[in-house]
């Protein structure tokens, strides 16, 4: 590796504003760089004046301060000049940083050794003498004493021995040290680097040249900590600087912050964002107001040690994982950001949402606006055990605890209480075996599994571990607490040959890190990517596809192998299309008249055409409306359809059962009109041909119905899952009403009850092109009022029913509204 040397220091122009000379021979120099340090200057100079048993040469270098530092320095030094064998006050013509100040001082010094003393620190009376003796006793190029910390932090610092290897992992030696001028001259001064790291760079430069340092095992100075200053400001560019140092010194390794189980709680320092995270943790665990425990069988009193370890069930707090596991979570999330491990965050099993809220809070405080937090839960408590499939869960009683079921609304409300409910939070509702295997998300930087059972744990691991980025983290909450969970983790690790050590957080939590270099058995990875055998939806689709393919072969049919079968349509002859949406079983829920003989019907947005063909089967003369081209897909004002079409490509690849890598590539490389044919027109025409259907085809958007169907009125107009994709639902509905002579049927995810005021809820998110073009969810009363105004008098609103989307297994809630004139 080629080293990239740091630039040598350049001399900064200066003027000497005060000079004091005597006949006495100074033994050591004290160099004090100052920039706007007026308030500290007196205390610092006082501590130099009080040095014992040593002749001092003092050089104060004012780095072009805006405050009265320079004048005060002159005044103090002049006042105390008899104490010094030689004293100078220097003023830089431009501001050049503390390293430049030290360099200027070094150039003007006349002794063999100089103590670097920042203006906000003070030295104890023996300091200079002891440093000089220590330097004399040793062969080191610089010596550094133990420091007492003052200001916003206490304790000691700099007591560790000089050790090149330790230095290679990060700086632990403050600039407050005595340096041999010969060594300084030999390496060409303090390297110029961003403020705050130049002392480290200087130690590295000296070490690189074969010099060493030595520790003085005495507390000789007090060092003021105020992280609000430059060290804190440095944070955002710390990675860049570390990279720079690693380039200059190949033996230095700074990139990895050790993910510790025991990093200290942040100390209160001004402007320290860690404090916010610390406070979030205290609030989330509610060690503040100390709500009682509601764990059945345990005392209700709040016990702080129980809460710290997450052993109780808080009656109010938003998490039950306790402080230790929250701190671990915070550290690991930070680490993924620091190390740029790509991906989102997910927790499976969220209870009141505390862990997810913390993750969202960290993203907020670290100004991370891209990554999202996935909140996966049934929001209905735990599933009953399935002992025939997961004998490890036999007798599990978690599902009997209503305390463990927290509704989606409650969790959302909790996010909102912190002001953290936005589009960076994604809720995944449903039991894990239904939602996780087909979850259209990833990669993840961190997966936190808190499912309490064998099933919930293994299903989550199987679905999410393959989507975890290399270098990402898995946290298992219940490893120590629930036997089934432990077995699931062990089974999974064994089956996937995972040998990364598990780190323990507390009595139950563990985590491990996925290796940064992906293993080369990509096959295994791919296999793991396909959801578990337990995913019924996928299995069903697989079976339908196989039956369809083989029946096609028998009948000598050759449909486009890439065709996307939106609906499952029975085409007769034992031929059934393998659709993602299968309404065959739930057709009665749509409430169509048994006979439509002699009636006319319009199906808007037909896709594969299930409803069009169904209405025709019931005797209606049917017109099917489809988009004329993908580019006509309704989109957000000011945006284009490019993003939507891109999403469609991704979704198509995902819905396909074929190997993901190549299929994704195929869909990516398709032209838009090809894609249109595969997605919308091709499958419909195939079905139409097979059924020898007379359904008439019209190509227009929902806003053009009236124009495209001049003077035509239909007895029945069907709008299935179309209004949600319409940017302007009112206009769309108006168009549908305009062509409707009698009955309008709307099937969609319609929410709200009779008591809820009419509302149109926006679900499109705030990020451009961020979803699959869903915009509005009107509630029941919105439909009632709008349809009444459009001239409909009779309403029939069906019950909500559920259908399962294949292959992902997502549950789709549907209600059907029949409105009649």
């Amino acid at each position: 590796m080629n080293t990239v040397a740091l630039p040598p220091a350049e001399a900064t122009p200066y003027e000497i504003v005060f000079r004091h000379e005597t006949e006495r021979l100074p033994e050591a120099t004290v160099i004090v760089p100052v920039w706007n340090g007026e308030r500290f200057l007196r205390e610092c100079c006082e501590s130099i004046r009080q040095q014992r048993s040593v002749e001092i040469e003092l050089v104060i270098v004012d780095d072009n301060s805006d405050d009265g530092s320079c004048a005060l320095a002159c005044k103090l030094v002049s006042h105390w000049r008899d104490r010094f064998a030689r004293a100078l006050v220097i003023r830089h013509a431009v501001r050049a940083g503390p390293a430049a100040g030290r360099d200027t001082g070094m150039r003007l010094a006349t002794t063999q050794a100089a103590l670097m003393l920042d203006v906000d620190n003070v030295i104890y009376p023996q300091c200079v003498r002891r440093c000089l003796d220590a330097l004399d006793a040793s062969s080191a190029a610089f010596v550094y004493p133990t420091l007492r910390l003052m200001g916003t932090k206490g304790g000691l610092q700099g007591y560790q021995q000089f050790d090149r290897q330790r230095l290679a992992r990060g700086n632990y030696i403050d600039a407050l040290a005595m340096v041999r001028r010969s060594a300084w001259a030999d390496v060409g001064g303090f390297p110029h680097l961003a403020e705050g790291l130049e002392d480290y760079a200087f130690w590295l430069t000296l070490t690189e040249r074969g010099y060493k340092g030595a520790q003085i095992p005495e507390i000789l100075a007090a060092y003021r900590v105020h992280e609000a200053g430059r060290t804190a400001l440095l944070k955002p560019i710390v990675d860049m600087l570390n990279e720079r140092l690693e380039q200059a010194f190949p033996w230095v390794r700074l990139g990895r912050v050790q993910p510790g189980g025991n990093a200290p709680v942040p100390r209160p320092t001004a402007g320290n964002p860690d404090l916010f995270i610390d406070l979030m943790i205290r609030i989330l665990t509610n060690t503040i107001y100390e709500d009682p425990n509601m764990l059945p069988g345990a005392p209700a009193a709040f016990v702080s040690s129980q809460r710290a370890d997450g052993r109780d069930w808080p009656s109010l707090a938003h998490t039950m994982v306790g402080e230790a596991r929250l701190r671990n979570l915070a550290r690991l999330v930070d680490l993924t950001l620091l190390e740029k491990i790509p991906g989102d965050f997910i927790e499976t099993g969220v209870w009141r949402g505390g862990c997810c809220i913390l993750m969202r809070a960290i993203l907020a405080v670290r100004c991370e606006r891209q990554r999202r937090v996935f909140v996966a839960d049934s929001f209905e408590g735990l599933p009953p055990p399935k002992p025939h499939r997961y004998p490890q869960d036999a007798g599990d009683q978690h599902h009997e605890y209503p305390q463990l079921a927290v509704s989606l609304g409650d969790v959302k409300a909790n996010f909102a209480r912190y002001g953290l409910l936005d589009e960076q939070v994604v809720f995944v509702k449903g039991f894990f075996d239904q939602t996780l295997p087909g979850l259209n998300a990833g990669p993840f930087a961190l997966v936190r599994i808190d499912g309490d059972m064998y099933e919930s744990t293994i299903v989550a691991l199987q679905a999410l571990y393959p989507k975890l980025s290399p270098g990402g983290f898995v946290i298992i909450d219940d490893f120590g607490a629930v036997e089934g969970c432990r077995l699931a983790v062990e089974d999974f690790r064994k089956a996937h040959d995972i040998s990364e050590p598990m780190e323990q957080i507390d009595w139950t939590g563990v985590w491990w890190r996925k290796p940064a270099t992906p293993r080369d058995d990509v096959g295994a990875e791919k296999k793991a990517l396909t959801p578990t055998a337990g995913a019924d939806a996928r299995r069903q689709l697989q079976a339908l596809s196989e039956a369809f393919d083989s029946r096609c072969a028998e009948l000598g049919l050759a449909p486009n192998p890439l065709a996307f079968w939106y609906h499952t349509v029975d085409l007769g002859d034992g031929l059934v299309t393998p659709g993602s949406f299968d309404y065959r079983a739930s057709i009665d829920q749509f409430g169509f008249p048994a006979s439509l003989s002699g009636a006319t019907a319009l199906d808007v947005g037909s896709a594969t055409g299930f409803f069009a063909f169904e209405l025709e089967r019931r005797g209606a003369a049917v017109v099917s409306v489809e988009l004329p081209a993908l580019s006509r897909w309704d989109h957000f004002p000011g945006e284009t359809t490019t993003g939507i079409i891109g999403k469609l490509r991704e979704r198509l690849a995902f819905h396909s059962l074929r190997p993901q890598g190549e299929i994704a590539e195929l869909f990516r490389s398709m032209a838009d009109d090809e894609l249109y044919d595969v997605l919308l027109n091709g499958p419909f025409q195939f079905c139409r041909d097979r059924l020898r259907s007379k359904v008439e085809r019209v190509y227009c958007t929902i806003y053009e119905l009236e124009a495209a169907l001049p003077n035509r009125r239909f007895d029945l107009v069907m709008l299935g899952d179309i209004l949600v994709h319409s940017v302007d639902p009112l206009r769309a509905l108006g168009q549908a009403a305009a062509v409707c002579a009698n009955e309008l049927v709307i099937a969609d995810d319609i929410q709200g009850d009779d008591n809820e005021p009419a509302a149109l809820r926006y679900v499109g998110g705030s990020r451009a092109e961020s979803d699959i073009a869903e915009w509005w969810r009107p509630n029941v009363n919105w439909y009632r009022q709008v349809l009444a105004r459009l001239g409909f008098r009779e309403f029939e609103i069906g019950h909500s029913f559920e259908t399962t989307v294949r292959p992902g297994g997502e549950k789709l809630h549907k209600r059907v509204i029949h409105a009649k004139r």
Binding site: Y124, P125, D133, Q161, F162, E218, A298, P299, A300, A301
Partner: protein
């Protein structure tokens, strides 16, 4: 939400009580169902109640007067732990039998986990201040138990883990030298003699009497990925040198359960182990004449931790009996810089800075292993002590302890004055006479007085000399060991005090 529901239920209950079920009947049914009534206990608590009438008394009047049915129901605790009940103003027992029991609420303070800090502190506190109580507990526990006897000339194999802390190793060496001084044929080995190449542990029977020093490390630290199994402690003598409240100790309990005898260098710890039924005895450390490790160290090695020490100090060691004023270092401390110690040093830093200090502080609480990561080897530590006027001692945590190693081996043995914050009691040395025991906030003043005044200097001379005499004449390790393993040993402490 929870509490509101409770409140309304309590109100329901009270209104039902007014007309319906009589509280006496509820109590009667509930108490019997919950099996809370303890007849003998109740009679003992209320001697005025005739034994045959106890249950009747309790059910008719006792519970209304706030009497407990038995030791398993603590009304005060129940109200404290269930603020909702307290707020509802319901009788705690009535609440328990009607609601609390079904809701699984606890009826009394749960027992803390054994050997957790909460469990240890009250138990150790007694023994830390009352040496007689400690000694009596040990003696009572030992009486009538089989105890290993070592006749002169017995072969004893002493073990210490090769990855043990350097201070533990020194104790193991001292222990071996003490056994030799007591007339035994003792040798020191490590776990590598136990972990055979075929993966098994060496059969214990082929070895002589085994003593394992620092079992918390011996049975825990892996060598080439293998750990000595706890079973190997069966019939062995274990010498515990770890403070009980550390995780290190708690995780090392398994071997202790199997040992023939457990010795502890801390009196209170030994008494606590005895009170738990371990075959435990107290083993104070002592002096072994001519023990080379702690002899004069004329030159100090050239190691990084001594890099800045003046050559003159390194190559000249003042004779042990010359006045302290000839020792070049004023104050010496070596040890792990725990957060507590960091706080103490921080507060004292400026005061101490006028004296010549040598604070060798280590970073993490993991073993400092000789030849590997130890900041200073034994010779250097002892050599520094011999060049220092004062050894400082602070506890690692808030828990009281008597740091034998620092106080006796580095301090008194090297004729260095020991100044410590208050210590746990032991029977070998006395505060004021053999060391100075001072509250932390006065330590800096005492140091200034000892180093800066003639009265202080002469006190320092007197204390360190009498301590050394006490150690060499009355606290001889050979004698201590002979008596602890002799056929008629009863009380070690008595013999050392005499």
């Amino acid at each position: 939400m929870n509490i509101l529901r409770q409140l309304s239920r309590a109100r329901d209950l009270m209104s039902r009580l007014a007309g319906g079920d009589h509280p006496d009947r509820l109590i009667q049914k509930g108490i019997l169902a919950a099996n809370l009534f303890d007849h003998d206990w109740y009679v003992a608590q209320h001697p005025d109640v005739p034994p045959g009438e106890a249950l009747k008394h309790f059910l008719r009047t006792g519970w209304k007067q706030g009497h407990a049915p038995g030791p398993d129901f603590d009304a005060v605790y129940y109200l404290a732990a269930n603020p909702d009940v307290a707020a509802a103003g319901v009788d705690p027992l009535l609440h328990y039998v009607t609601f609390g029991r079904r809701e699984g609420r606890a009826t009394r303070e749960p027992e803390p986990e054994p050997f957790s800090a909460a469990w240890l502190r009250p138990r150790l506190a007694l023994f830390q201040i009352d040496t007689d109580a400690a000694q009596k507990t040990i003696d009572d526990n030992r009486r009538g138990r089989p105890w290993p006897r070592l006749a002169p000339g017995s072969a004893v194999a002493v073990f210490i883990h090769s990855g043990s802390n350097i201070f533990m190793r020194e104790i193991a060496e001292l222990f071996t030298a003490g056994l030799v001084a007591a007339g035994m044929d003792a040798h020191l080995g490590d776990e590598r003699a136990v972990l055979l190449d075929d993966g098994a542990a060496a059969p214990a029977v082929t070895l002589s009497v085994r003593v394992i020093v620092a079992p918390h490390e011996f049975f825990r630290i892996a060598t080439n990925g293998r750990v000595v199994p706890a079973e190997w402690a069966k019939d062995a003598i274990l010498l515990n040198v770890e403070q009980l409240h550390t995780d290190w100790f708690r995780h090392g309990l398994e071997p202790l359960r199997r040992a023939a005898a457990v010795l502890d260098i801390n009196l209170a710890s030994a008494a606590l182990l005895a009170s738990c039924g371990f075959p435990a005895d107290y083993l104070p450390l002592g002096h072994v004449a001519g023990f080379p490790r702690f002899g004069p160290q004329p030159t100090l090695p050239d190691v990084p931790a001594l890099e800045t020490l003046e050559r003159a100090i390194k190559v000249a060691c003042p004779a042990a009996d010359t006045p302290l004023s000839e020792r070049p270092i004023d104050i010496f401390f070596i040890g792990y810089l725990s957060p507590r110690r960091a706080g103490i040093f921080e507060r004292m830093a400026q005061r101490l800075s006028r004296w010549r200090c040598q604070f060798v502080l280590t970073d993490a609480d993991h073993p400092q292993v000789s030849g590997r990561n130890a900041v200073l080897e034994s010779e250097a530590t002892i050599g520094l002590a011999q060049r220092s006027k004062i050894i400082l001692n602070f506890h690692q945590t808030e828990d009281l302890f008597f740091e034998w190693h620092r106080i006796v081996l580095q301090g008194i043995w090297q004729r260095t004055l020991v100044i410590s914050e208050p210590l746990a009691m032991q029977t070998s040395f006395s505060a004021g006479e053999h060391f100075l025991e001072v509250p932390i906030e006065e330590i800096a003043d005492v140091i200034d007085w000892v180093l800066g005044t003639s009265a202080g200097r002469s006190t320092a001379e007197r204390v360190r000399t009498s301590a050394y005499n006490r150690l060499t004449q009355h606290v001889q390790f050979g004698e201590i060991l002979r008596s602890v393993f002799s056929a008629d040993s009863t009380c070690i402490a008595e013999q050392t005090t005499r």
